[in-house]
Amino acid sequence: MRTKKQNFVRGFIDVLPLLIPVVPFGIIFGAIGIELGFGPYVTYATSIIIFSGASQIVFFQLLSAGATSLVAITSSSVISTRHLLYGAVVNQYLSNLSLYWKIGLSYILTDQAFAVSNEYFKKNNNEKFKHYYLLGSGITLWIVWQLTTIIGILLGSIVPEELGLTFTIPLTFLALLINYFRKVDHLIIIVISGMLSIILYDAPFKSYIIFSSLVSLLIAYLIVNMRKKQK
């Protein structure tokens, strides 16, 4: 049985490689907020209040392009709906926690924290303090996002755009999926979701992520059901 601290530290260590895109992305986001004329306070406030890189960027881009607040709110919220799926997954492991824990952990349930915690929980479901793992990975990401936003606000685009560091975002998610590519059923879901996201890319309110995810999960459901019947 690992202690609270050991779980926390493991979460911290495991999320470190996933910070590779977060650092440049945070700096770029801070710089974009200033460039688009939102000022330091508004730019930074989104990192605390919204705390979701993709949603924050879309929110600023739409507003500065002249979209109404309603469109900006809807689009960045639709992008966030993927978290509903993350919550449903981690909830299987954390349902015994108190309400306070759930309220706190939900705030730091990001893509990266979900990705590492999901793998950890699967393998360590009997660890009593496994929620400290999510706490460790989530807080680490939160701190780095806050700091890099501030760096971007203060220093501007110190990350040269030519380096193409935003490319590390898809690379990180690819690396996270690598073990799933070996399983045929997962491979089918991955390819379907990816193709759908390209086809649906122009759907309103950036809904392509949640649409592609839900349709692929429906197909996963059919696959699971089919396998059950074969048994």
């Binding site: 490689p17 939102f38 406030a45 989104t46 209040i49 919204i50 949603s55 929110f59 507003l63 607040s69 309603l70 709110i73 960045s76 966030s80 993927r82 978290h83 799926l85 993350y86 919550g87 449903a88 997954v89 909830n91 299987q92 349902s95 759930k102 309220i103 939900s106 705030y107 893509d111 990705a115 999901n118 935003t166 490319f167 975002i169 898809p170 690379l171 998610f173 690819l174 690396a175 999926l177 690598i178 590519f181 070996r182 879901i189 991955i190 979701s193 990816g194 193709m195 996201s197 890319y201 392509y208 992520i209 592609s212 995810s213 839900l214 692929s216 999960l217 996963a220 459901y221 699971v224």
Partner: protein
């Protein structure tokens, strides 16, 4: 609408998407099929983030097959399959992207 109100509403909705299913879904009530389907969440969500970022350009059009991002992604993919190492996969992808871009 003031930008502050817009940020707070977006933040609230954002937070509710993270908290929502944690509060509303009772895992005991999920049947086994649904629990199994939840194993596919990473495979269903992450590709929708990966594919457009690799295969579409800034204007949302499909890139050529020999685009630096596509080639670097393929190299990263095989590195990942062979090494099973997360950090190595990311760095190999990034470095091969730079090599194609700058040499």
């Amino acid at each position: 609408m003031s930008i502050w109100i817009a940020i707070i509403i977006t933040g609230l909705i954002n937070y509710l998407t993270r908290l929502g299913s944690v509060l509303l879904i009772k895992p005991q009530k999920l049947n086994n099929t649904l629990k199994t389907v939840l194993n596919y969440v990473p495979s269903a969500v992450f590709p929708a983030i990966i594919f457009p970022a690799v295969f579409l350009n800034d204007s949302g059009l499909l890139v050529e097959f020999n685009d630096p991002k596509v080639i670097a992604t393929i190299i990263a993919f095989f590195t990942g399959i062979l090494s099973k190492n997360l950090t190595l996969t990311i760095f190999t992808g990034l470095i091969s992207y730079w090599i194609i871009l700058f040499f």
